[in-house]
């Protein structure tokens, strides 16, 4: 059998083939289909249109629905969309639905999936959201699809996929205290461009990657789509398996899949993380790379720490390291990705002060767990840019209009850089204020 990459091996197994080659078009079996309040109603519409009003989903255990985008809003249409999900879940008796207003409410789907044990090595995950690629951090094939594809998967459990060639990014060395996974992935995107990985898989490897915790690995995989990647993937190690086994409530068995020795990569790039600097993506594209030192001093109106990219415990821990005992100079919004993380902010502490206390006494505002202003949304969304202001953010996209106003300027950076900048009201280097 020819040597294959992880992505190729997972896809081959799910297509019941001994091997596949990049470029092959194959039908694969899905292990999990995830949808949310923005694309769920459309997906359900497609499903009903083609399979019938009374049709049942292909496997109730495999459909996960997570309302997360437009949650805490007065917008009637947005609320109606959550009702559409509710009704469908009731009709179908779906066990994995994380409804808002209940104890089960989670928040951002890409963080909810692993927290609730829906991500396992070797599996195939399809989600109606481009950042579904986040779950590649658990050694699975995870990719974003549209409503039609999702409606198809809902009815059949299958989807055609073109096998992508794999690009390999190797990180060596121990990450300095002023850098985070966000800096690494912004460096990669800046280097290859926002179309650099179009139709391709991005595999992350090297001791620098395996030294990262699970959340940081998720940040790496989360942003592969910003380079156009189809999926991002990291081989599972003990850390991955410990995380997965602790959360895999259904005890569903899984198989670890790793890249064969001698597998072919279509591209390879090696980074020494000790030589990197804090990175920023300037408006209006995630590949508009600059080092923080190059743009230091650029005036800002707002700072935002949240989303599936930059709203996890590791992100808040990092921001708190800088904000502790200090005050922000500009409006600063803190949005935990999930309710579990929101609870974490209340109980984890640094020298006797909880992260929540640190943020509040620094003058930041804390929102409810959800996508919030990461993608603009209804005008009453927490932290939304309703005017053409400048914002530094831990999110993943800075396209025109992404966080609200189409003339607003968004700078993407790590939570350390965002926190450092919140203190001064201008782009600042975390190396100058790490305590």
């Amino acid at each position: 059998m020819p040597a294959m990459t992880m992505t190729e091996k997972i896809l081959a197994k799910h297509a019941d083939k001994a091997s596949v080659t990049p470029g092959d078009n194959i039908w694969v079996d899905a292990d999990i289909l995830m949808t949310h309040d923005v694309c769920g109603p459309g997906t359900i519409g497609v499903f009903k249109q083609h399979f019938g009003n009374d049709a049942k989903v292909w496997d109730r255990e495999k459909v996960v629905i997570v309302p997360d985008h437009y949650i805490f809003t007065q917008d009637k249409m947005a609320n109606r969309n959550v009702d559409v999900l509710r009704q469908f879940v009731a009709e179908q008796k779906l066990p994995y639905y994380y409804d808002v207003g209940t104890d089960k409410y989670k928040g951002v789907c890409h963080i909810a999936l692993p927290e609730e044990g829906h991500t396992r090595p070797g599996e195939v995950l399809f989600g109606t959201d481009s950042h579904t690629c986040t779950a590649g951090a658990f050694g699975e094939f995870a990719t974003g699809i549209g409503n039609t594809d999702a409606g198809f998967v809902m009815g059949t459990g299958k989807l055609w996929v073109k096998v992508p060639p794999t690009m390999r990014f190797v990180f060596h060395g121990e990450l300095p205290s002023y850098l985070m996974a966000k800096d690494l992935i912004l460096a990669v995107i800046g280097d290859i461009g926002c179309d650099g990985a179009t139709y391709k898989a991005m595999e992350f490897d090297g001791d620098g990657v395996f030294a990262l915790n699970i959340e940081e690995r998720m940040t790496l995989c989360n942003m592969v789509i910003e380079a156009g990647g189809k999926n991002g993937v990291i081989a599972p190690d003990k850390l991955t398996l410990d995380y997965v086994n602790a959360r895999n409530k259904s005890k569903k068995p899984y198989q670890v899949v790793t890249t064969d020795a001698g597998a072919k990569f279509c591209f390879e790039k090696v980074y020494d993380v000790r030589k990197l600097e804090p990175i920023i993506a300037k408006p209006h594209s995630p590949d508009n790379k600059a080092t923080v030192s190059e743009v230091k001093g650029t005036k800002l109106d707002r700072a935002y720490i949240g989303s599936c990219t930059g709203g996890k415990m590791t992100d808040f821990r990092a921001a708190a390291r800088i904000l502790k005992g200090r005050s922000v100079k500009i409006d600063t919004f803190v949005v935990p990705a999930t309710s579990e993380i929101a609870a974490g902010l209340k109980c984890e502490s640094i020298n006797g002060q909880t992260l929540e206390q640190i943020f509040l006494s620094a003058g930041a505002k804390i929102g409810e767990p959800s996508c919030a202003a990461c993608l603009g949304g209804p005008s009453d969304t927490f932290g939304r840019l309703n005017a053409p202001i400048s914002c530094i953010s831990t999110t993943n996209r800075n396209f025109p209009g992404r966080m609200g106003h189409k003339e607003a300027k968004v700078f993407l950076a790590s939570p350390l850089t965002v926190a450092a900048s919140a203190l001064t009201g201008a782009i600042s280097d975390p190396r100058d204020c790490l305590q």
């Binding site: 039908w27 923005v38 694309c39 083609h50 699809i145 179309d195 396209f399 025109p400």
Partner: protein, 187 residues
């Protein structure tokens, strides 16, 4: 599949992302409801920065605020069209606005899939940088079978890239119709 597509060109640049094609605040409409499907046409391309809208001059409206359908039927763009989010609302918005096909150098993967699998618009690829050769408002004709694009206004013509492996899906009208044709789906 339609054999010829004719219409006026609306020209855009590189990296037109899905937030520009249909801004997030309109994603609360449900495309499964016909009356709401129309609304996506109304807001199609509403976040394109004005200087980039309708090249080469820019500042050309795709349609006026109250219109659901545009006077333009063919979009000509540069590289990486449709990058960003997985929202199928993006090809839906173009379809609802009356766009028949897009001609770009290449596409972001999810946008391309959604266009083909949903059967909304035909995403043609071209080796030429046509967004710098065609002007907004030019009359175009696309011969789908032969993959030939003609600029009726300037009498120029180009060969588009073959649709390749997705041609059968486009031909069938989307992934459901295709799956039925090949016996994958029996509903």
């Amino acid at each position: 599949m339609q054999t010829t597509i004719t219409g006026r060109a609306y020209v855009l640049g590189d990296n037109v992302d899905t937030d520009q094609i249909i801004p997030a605040q309109y994603l609360t409409y449900n495309p499964a409801i016909p009356a709401e499907y129309k609304m996506f046409g109304k807001y199609a391309l509403s976040s394109v920065p004005p200087a980039q809208a309708g090249l080469p001059k820019g500042h050309v409206l795709f349609h006026t605020k109250d219109e659901f359908v545009s006077d333009y039927q063919i979009i000509v763009a540069g590289k990486n069209f449709g990058c960003g989010s997985s929202r199928e609302h993006a090809p839906i918005a173009l379809d609802a606005a009356g766009i028949k096909c897009v001609i770009a150098e290449f596409y972001a993967r999810i946008f391309f899939r959604n266009s083909v699998n949903g059967g909304y618009i035909i995403p043609f690829e071209t080796a030429d940088r046509l967004c710098e050769q065609i002007c907004t408002g030019d009359e175009l004709t696309v011969d789908v079978e032969s993959g030939t694009l003609t600029n009726v206004t300037t009498k120029e013509s180009w060969k588009l890239k073959p649709l390749g492996e997705v041609a059968p899906i486009i031909d069938a009208g989307g992934i459901f119709a295709y799956a039925k044709k090949v016996g994958m789906l029996k509903v």
